[in-house]
């Protein structure tokens, strides 16, 4: 009874084409945003905001990026972390060269560089398909990782060899650097993620998104419909890498606050983001959020939550359990629901829609 579409008539195509055609969905989104904007910053502890929410947002964005490539366009990439790295290093160079420009603008711009690099490494995708392409993206992963260490210009010749995030402010409120509070950093992340998610949603619901899905589902037919495969694929690489790049810049500037980026953007990260996309649901934006929530929050929850609840679990044991659990979950999801958490969510909504009279 709570969730009813009956009686909600659409009189225009515009209304029918909305991302959230149902009133209940729109209310739901409003509630989530209210929680994100008000409840979390006011009631969450610093630890919760800095170690749960910010990572969640960053990973969500990266997962959306990979989902555009893998879920929507059907191209597997194992190089997401490297593209994130490109974003982070671009942002570092940009803010060094243009210290006066607002850091949020620069974070958004830095994605363009990783989009460019993404296109470059996406070029083989016209001739290479499937697993072969996955291996080709490993070339990007390892090459870029090497370059991050080997090209000192990228990290401003710092003796530490790492990105050292400088302080940048907006209206005298520090956004990055050590004195930026978790709340500020959280708000910046949230803003970026909301805006970019909105863009992504527009794209996947429009012409480009349909081209991507057409390429994914039946590339030959898509080509015969007049979709240029190379354009569509490269566009997917560009948009996907853009998202990854922005996520990478956010990761270093708003979450890590600097550090040894070559080790941050390792192949392990590429894998985790791929898992987020699989568990969340290939080809679903909301699934990216679910996947990110699941895989970034679960280990933290296991490690810090269980001892806090009084369940004695050693750090090492928690780590092992996490690995096994993630592995088992991936398999379980593929077996039970190959479309991931997103599909479970839909099924849940369907049930709610008919509740309490399922027949």
């Amino acid at each position: 009874m709570l969730y009813r579409e009956a009686g909600q008539y659409k009189s225009t195509y515009a209304a029918d084409m909305g991302v959230f055609p149902l009133r209940e969905d729109r209310i739901g989104i409003a509630v989530i945003l209210a929680i994100a904007l008000v409840a979390i910053p006011f009631f969450g502890s610093d630890f919760f905001i800095a170690s749960v929410m910010i990572p969640f947002l960053v990973f969500s964005l990266a997962a959306i990026g990979l989902n555009i490539l893998t879920g929507y366009t059907g191209l597997i990439s194992l190089g997401t972390a490297a593209f994130m790295g490109v974003g982070a290093y671009s942002c570092y160079k940009l803010t060094t060269l243009f210290p006066g420009v607002n850091i949020i603008v620069l974070i958004l711009l830095s994605g363009l560089f990783s989009a460019g690099i993404g296109v470059l490494f996406g070029l083989p995708s016209l001739r290479i398909k499937g697993f072969y392409l996955a291996v080709a993206t490993l070339a990007a992963q390892f090459f870029l990782q090497w370059a991050f260490v080997r090209v000192p210009w990228l990290f401003n010749y710092n003796a530490s060899g790492a990105i050292e995030v400088p302080q940048r402010t907006l209206f005298d409120i520090p956004l990055t650097g050590a004195s930026a509070t978790p709340e500020t950093r959280y708000f910046v992340c949230l803003g970026l993620v909301v805006v970019l998610t909105w863009f992504a949603s527009n794209l996947v619901h429009g012409k480009l998104g349909r081209s991507w899905m057409a390429v994914r589902d039946m590339d030959i037919a898509a080509e015969l419909m007049g979709i240029k495969l190379l354009n569509a694929k490269l566009m997917a690489f560009a948009v996907s890498s853009y998202f990854a790049g922005v996520a990478g810049a956010m990761m270093i500037f708003l979450w890590y606050g600097g550090g040894e980026a070559a080790d941050v953007f390792s192949i392990r990260l590429s894998f985790s983001i791929l898992f987020m996309v699989i568990i969340g649901g290939l080809g679903s934006l909301i699934g990216s959020f679910f996947g990110a929530a699941f895989l970034s929050v679960l280990p933290t929850a296991l490690k810090f939550g269980l001892p806090a609840l009084g369940v004695p679990i050693g750090g090492a044991a928690a780590e092992h359990v996490t690995f096994m659990l993630v592995g088992a979950l991936i398999i379980t999801f593929l077996i039970v629901e190959p479309h991931g958490l997103a599909r479970l969510w839909q099924i849940g909504k369907q049930k709610l829609r008919t509740w309490p009279f399922p027949y």
């Binding site: 349909r210 039946m218 037919a221 007049g226």
Partner: protein
């Protein structure tokens, strides 16, 4: 441009208009296997042209050559007066050739609506940034094309499955959606590869009606491959018959029906 239709078989043609597309001496090989050998025929504006022949005669390969999916080793495809050794799929699409496929080639993960909307891809002009914003011109464009698509949906009577993913639809409906997707391109030439394969009688009748309506209402030229002889004879204006990659007959249904070579090769065989 020499617009004089080539009268290959020597039979008088029912003059229905100028030649829209002609294939000239096409030969196609896969390694050592000859799929098509030296085939020529033409398709005239506004007609329904059938391509028939036993299994493995090279019918689908022929369509693939026409819209550029295969590149024949020899011969030319002349479309709207432009003669090309190599047709490219997207160029064919841009030029107004649409097609359906023998084994339905729908985008299985997408809804009926989205599938048909992809047919509008070439007609949508708004750039990337407008699309990302989905406001103003981009939204107008999207709505405008949605209207066209809704008309097609009405025409094909598939309103009820508008938002369902096509992967789970029954076969007959999938074929209909595929036709819709091709129609959305507003093609000048529509290539239908066995549009009625695997359908029951009622579905076949529906499909026949749609094909005739398309031909009549929009004036679309249609080339179709079909096995059901009754359908072919009823629908088509002219028929070309292939066997083992060679053309053995070309003419009106009546002429072809009487052709001894065709009877030997094809019609004589009980179906």
């Amino acid at each position: 441009m020499n617009a004089e239709p080539m009268n290959v078989t020597g039979t008088p043609l029912r003059d229905k208009g100028e030649v829209l597309l002609s294939v000239e001496n096409i030969s196609l090989r896969f390694g050592g296997v000859k799929a098509i050998t030296d085939v020529s025929f033409d398709i005239r504006k506004g007609e329904i042209r059938a391509i028939i022949g036993p299994n493995g005669a090279g019918k689908t390969s022929m369509l693939n050559c026409i819209n550029g999916f295969y590149q024949p080793q020899e011969g030319r495809v002349v479309f709207k007066g432009e003669r090309r050794a190599k047709m490219r799929p997207h160029r064919a699409a841009a030029g107004g050739i649409a097609r359906t496929f023998q084994n339905v080639a729908l985008f299985k993960g997408m809804s009926t609506l989205d599938n048909i909307m992809t047919g509008r891809t070439l007609k949508m002009k708004r750039g990337f940034f407008w699309q990302a914003l989905r406001h103003g011109p981009a939204l107008h464009e999207e709505i405008e094309h949605r209207r066209v698509v809704e008309d097609i949906i009405d025409f094909l009577q598939i309103e009820h499955i508008r938002k369902l993913p096509v992967g789970k639809l029954p076969y007959g409906l999938q074929k209909r959606v595929e036709l819709g997707r091709a129609l959305a391109m507003e093609p000048e030439l529509l290539l239908l590869d066995e549009p009625m394969a695997g359908m029951n009688l009622e579905e076949k009748e529906d499909m026949c009606r749609f094909i005739l309506d398309v031909n009549n209402q929009f004036g679309t030229t249609i080339a179709l491959i079909e096995h059901d002889m009754g359908v072919v004879m009823d629908l088509s204006d002219r028929v070309v018959v292939l066997e083992y990659g060679r053309k053995i007959a070309d003419g009106t249904p009546d002429e072809v029906k009487r052709d001894q070579k065709v009877i030997d090769a094809y019609l004589g065989v009980a179906h």
